[in-house]
Symmetry: C2
Subunit: 159 residues, 2 copies
């Protein structure tokens, strides 16, 4: 955060409105997606993201560390989730032959079937909660805003 200067830096009305509305989305959209996926497919949103990521990779295979980046999760969290998915027979794990430090995760046929079965319902929910309520123009605005925020959220460089 750096030096705490004497700037007033309080939020004005417009900033406050934006902030309160965004927090509300933040607190409610995540749980809503988890609920839909848990109810209809028996997986969490994070588990779905992991399997969907693998399903689009070459050979349905990725290194754990790359998969962690892709799914916005930390490695310990990913490792435990993959352990769970492995137990259900949806993902396999083995050391990378070219460098034993890496672990390769592969989506199994059963895992792929699971993703394929879950996708339509999930997409429908995304459409209902996020895309349908917005105009086409707002969808474009949202994309640019969210991408800008993701830059600000990028790995905190501390050199």
């Amino acid at each position: 955060m750096g030096i705490m200067t004497d700037e007033p830096e309080w939020l004005d009305d417009e900033e406050r409105a934006a902030w309160l509305a965004l927090v509300s989305v933040l607190m409610r959209l995540g749980p809503a997606l988890n609920t839909q996926l848990a109810r209809d497919a028996g997986v969490s949103h994070f588990e779905y993201t992991v399997m969907a990521g693998l399903s689009e990779a070459p050979d349905r295979t990725m290194r754990m560390s790359d998969l962690a980046d892709l799914s916005d999760g930390l490695l310990p969290r990913l490792s435990q989730v993959v352990t769970r998915l492995e137990g259900r027979g949806w993902v396999g794990r083995r050391p990378d032959p070219s460098d034993g430090r890496f672990t390769l995760a592969t989506l199994t046929d059963d895992g792929l079937a699971k993703v394929v079965a879950a996708a339509p319902g999930h997409v429908a929910e995304v459409r209902r909660l996020v895309l349908d309520p917005l105009t086409r123009k707002q969808v474009g605005q949202l994309t640019r805003i969210a991408e800008r925020l993701n830059e600000a959220l990028a790995p905190t460089r501390c050199p």
Copy 2:
């Protein structure tokens, strides 16, 4: 979700871009806020939201059920968090004299001091992660988009 019609309903490129960017914000902004508050103030984002809500209520007091609505949390979750806050001496609880079914939660002096101490750092983080990266115009767009999404996320009416 209703009837699953034969609509193609897949996401086009623009929709997909918006969705992926929003999910990324969703997965990273929440943890980022939790991390800052935990590190600098020793509270979670939800705990902070609850105490900040009470701090602005008349007599720093609210019914548990109203507080649950305000903080976007379900009642069981709020109850457990308030138990924790009560243990630290930041919130007090007592039955509503006018109707014993309700419970009134009150922010103590210590609790107020805690919020006041935590607020500047939290606001600075909100500014750094959300408001500063956006143009003034985008802040307005974000407000309208987020408010629209919150309507779609409203309590699922099933009459």
